[in-house]
């Protein structure tokens, strides 16, 4: 018909073209889709698909707004599985299966969706294999899709956030290349991957050129699923040739390459030689509020005020990483990295303020910060150690200089959002701002003449970590401490007593409630009675065996590696600890999202049945370990 511009269809085609995987369709295919689609409006909170309800008759593509996908657990709790927003689709599996819908989909805000009728979508999928594969792909790749969409739309972000476009691939390499020769057996490779906790292994030839790659996915699908002999040379199952990228290429090009090839690992090469591997997760972290970005922001600031502004973003990292499936322990490490950078930056600012220090010094952090297990911002726990002065005059000068220095640092950290420590474990307290000699004496006294009260509060000093600049001061101190602590049974017994001081609430699953009154009635303290005892128990065991790691997970690894603890027990504890931290983090995130102050008080009624069961097992593990320790140190006799 003349005079009939198809402008609404054109709007639809334009929209689809901007969104993966619809951009894989040719223009005539898109026009066919547009011709038969309809546009529906769903006000905020409207259910769109219902669990157990009729299957979807159309594929829904969100034109504007967002939806929440959730399932109801057996005890009617809503578990949110995913959120989808503009350009993303839902209803595909429900539509394709044609049986009852398996999840609830509801509009989170006012949402507009394009509806594409089932027969038409099926026709497109039959006619375009690439499209079919893409649309069926697991939602794990949605991050990358999203990123690409943004790129296509020319989404202009503030300069600091366009790291995908400015950062070379080599900046993303965070560990040295782990490789092996093609004649290694599959088993050898698998063992190495497990021990190093890596998800891929590069196979190189005699010249260090990558000839193939094996990922944990390959081990599953090509070895286990096929029942292949684990003693076969790895060359038989490696993916070859390996897709590589030059280390000077931009992160964005790596992303494109992964997307185009449908892979998650890329070999990074320097003049043809393999130098490392980057994964889709590395790139994911570059998106949006990534931790790397905050860390970079920190380096660029030149005053306390600017620093505190750039740090406001840091609070958003935890939920983000959490959403991306990061382990609580990785979150802790990232947070520690950011805190360290902030502190290092402040130290240079302080030196600028007060002039060069009279003696080398080292800023140290204690407790959870020392263990890299901090999550939401907590109090400052820090101290300062400086080189021993040569004479009284120098001692006097150093005392005065570092007193002012530490005072300034305390204020600056507070301005950056780290509240002062109520227990005054801060370098600004003269007691914790001392030359190396004094620090050595402190530790000697704590170890050789332990007193119950002291054992309690000195524990945080045994988790010390050097931030800089003169880290050798702290390392020498640690060497001395760990050497002395090993075999000091009375001291260790005191620490052990601390570790069994708080028992886990084993009875809570039988409706025993722990806090019976006060503001935290009907809850229990997840840190004090769950993760805390594990930290304490692992610390004692690590000190007992002279292990100098401070991070709980790393201590467990070291204990297992040296044979000081059976590997199964170490792994059980690791999982238990990760689980407890996860629960704690989730609880705190929940509070923060409601603008409450994060705390550790969990109401057992408010968690799912599965979490309750796991929690019970976790507490049983803690209780068992406490019993072991109690027996080993013969604590009953000590009393």
């Amino acid at each position: 018909m003349q005079n009939q511009p198809a402008i609404l269809q054109d709007l639809t085609v334009d929209f689809l073209r901007q969104h993966y995987p619809f951009d894989l369709l040719a223009t005539p295919e898109l026009q066919t889709l547009a011709q038969s689609c309809s546009l529906e409006f769903f006000p905020k909170d409207t259910p769109i698909l219902a669990q157990g309800g009729n299957p979807a008759q159309s594929l829904f593509v969100i034109q504007k707004g967002s939806v929440r996908m959730s399932v109801l657990s057996e005890n009617d709790e809503e578990i949110i599985i995913d959120m989808r927003s503009e350009g993303e689709h839902f209803g595909l599996t429900s539509m394709m299966r044609g049986t009852v819908t398996q999840m609830n989909v509801a509009a989170v805000e006012d949402t507009i969706c394009y509806l594409f009728p089932k027969p038409l979508v099926a026709q497109m999928m039959r006619g375009n294999v690439e499209f079919a594969e893409a649309i069926l792909q697991a939602s794990a790749q949605r991050y990358l899709e999203k990123a690409l969409t943004e790129i296509r739309q020319g989404d202009v972000r503030p300069s600091g956030e366009r790291m995908l476009f400015t950062l070379p691939v080599r900046a993303l390499l965070n560990r040295e290349l782990v490789s092996c020769a093609g004649d290694c057996t599959i088993q050898q490779v698998a063992i190495k991957m497990r021990d190093l906790r890596i998800s891929s292994m590069v196979i190189v030839d005699a010249h260090g050129v990558g000839i193939g790659i094996v990922t944990d996915r390959d081990l599953r699908s090509r070895v286990i699923a096929e029942g292949m002999d684990a003693l076969t040379p790895v060359a038989a199952i490696m993916v070859s040739p390996v897709i590589s990228i030059d280390q000077d290429d931009l992160a964005f090009e790596a992303l494109l390459k992964m997307l185009n090839m449908g892979i998650h690992h890329l070999l990074v090469v320097e003049q043809g030689k393999a130098v490392g591997v980057i994964t889709s997760t590395d790139l994911m972290l570059l998106q949006g509020q990534s931790p790397l970005l905050v860390a970079k922001g920190v380096n660029q600031q030149n005053s306390v005020e600017d620093l505190s502004v750039s740090l406001q973003r840091a609070n958003q990292i935890i939920p983000l990483m959490f959403k991306e499936g990061a382990h609580p322990s990785s979150i802790g490490r990232v947070i520690a990295e950011i805190n360290d950078r902030v502190t290092q930056k402040l130290l240079t600012l302080a030196e600028r303020e007060f002039g060069a220090p009279p003696l080398p010094y080292c800023w140290i952090v204690l407790g959870s910060e020392g263990r890299k297990e901090q999550t939401f911002k907590t109090d400052q726990d820090n101290a300062l150690i400086y080189a021993d002065p040569a004479d009284d005059a120098q001692a006097q000068a150093a005392r005065e200089y570092f007193a002012r220095f530490a005072e300034w640092m305390g204020d600056a950290l507070e301005k950056c959002g780290y509240p002062r420590c109520p227990g005054d474990y801060m370098a600004r307290n003269p007691k914790w701002c001392q030359p190396a000699r004094v620090w050595h004496n402190y530790f000697i006294r704590w170890i050789s003449e332990p007193e119950p009260q002291q054992a309690l509060y000195t524990t945080i000093f045994f988790d010390l970590r050097a931030v800089g600049p003169a880290t050798e001061l702290a390392i020498a101190l640690q060497d001395d401490v760990f050497r002395r602590a090993k075999g000091q049974n009375i001291f260790l017994a005191h620490l052990a007593r601390v570790a069994i001081g708080h028992t886990p609430p084993l009875g809570f699953f039988r409706n025993f409630v722990i806090e019976k009154s006060g503001p935290h009635k009907h809850t229990f303290n997840l840190k004090e009675r769950g993760s805390g005892p594990i930290v304490d128990l692992v610390r004692v065991t690590a000190l007992e065996h002279g292990i100098r790691e401070t991070n709980t997970i790393e201590r467990l690894h070291a204990l297992a590696d040296t044979g000081a603890m059976p590997r199964e027990q170490a792994e059980e504890l690791e999982h238990t600890y990760e689980f407890l931290m996860l629960m704690r983090l989730r609880h705190q995130m929940d509070l923060v999202s409601r603008n409450d102050k994060p705390d550790n008080f969990l109401n057992p009624d408010k968690i799912t049945a599965m979490d309750r069961t796991t929690l019970r097992e976790a507490f049983q593990t803690v209780a068992r370990l406490q019993a072991d320790i109690s027996e080993r140190f013969m604590l009953s006799r000590l009393a």
Partner: protein, 224 residues
């Protein structure tokens, strides 16, 4: 006399069961026209557009758009609004041709539009004049529906002494802004109809919340 009877009959139809079904089961045609001016004695239709809706769903593939040769010089003001010049329209179909196709497209769907009585005035005139028959489709005015819903809320709020001083009359673009609807291009009859269709989607929800769920009730409060 005939028209009085017809009017009575139309009103009676609202009482018998004829339109007693959910709004979401109705078929609508959201329309918009462009005119050379607002004087029904001398002005003409120069563009006609319509988009079909199945209940609250906008059917993207079912649209109608036609320019019309007004067979007279265009007033300068309107040229500025529509960016349509006499030359653009010289080769376009006559009003009779365009209306025949338009009538075929809308069938007996319920007509929806923003301030739709203005469009209806011209359409009814030209249906009589060029097709020799009346345009008798049922209609809903999104502006009236919005205004009605607004007044209901005012009465409710008034009971709590919270009357808002917001203006009840709103043009299409103001409403689009209020409903947070993306505006693609203004003063093209089809884009405007698309906008009105999206406003109608929102108004249907508002009406539903106020208890207006059946087509009959929507026709009563905001149409005819």
């Amino acid at each position: 006399m005939a028209s009085v009877l017809e009017g009575l009959q139309r009103r009676l139809e609202l009482w018998n069961g004829k339109y007693h079904y959910p709004i979401t089961d109705a078929r609508f045609c959201v329309i918009d026209t462009e005119l050379t001016g607002l004087d029904r004695n001398q002005d003409a239709i120069i563009a006609l557009s319509a988009i079909r809706m199945s209940g609250a769903r906008i059917l993207i593939g079912e649209t109608f758009y036609s320019l019309v040769n007004p067979e007279r010089a265009l007033a300068r003001d309107n040229v500025l609004v529509h960016r349509l010049r006499g030359d653009d329209l010289a080769d376009q179909p006559t009003i009779q041709n365009a209306l025949e196709k338009f009538a075929e497209f809308i069938g007996d769907d319920v007509i929806v539009g923003h301030f739709v009585q203005i469009d209806l005035g011209f359409l009814k005139r030209d249906f009589q004049r060029h097709l020799g028959r009346a345009l008798n489709n049922r209609w809903v005015d999104t502006q009236r529906a919005h205004q009605w819903a607004f007044l209901q809320e005012q009465q409710f709020l008034g009971g709590y002494g919270m009357q808002s001083i917001e203006n009840t009359e709103a043009n299409l673009f103001e409403l689009a802004r209020r409903y947070n609807i993306r505006v693609h291009g203004a003063h093209h009859a089809l884009y405007d109809a698309f906008l009105a269709a999206q406003v109608w989607q929102r108004v249907i929800v508002t009406l539903r919340d106020l208890g207006v769920r059946r087509l009959r009730d929507a026709l009563r409060v905001a149409g005819g």
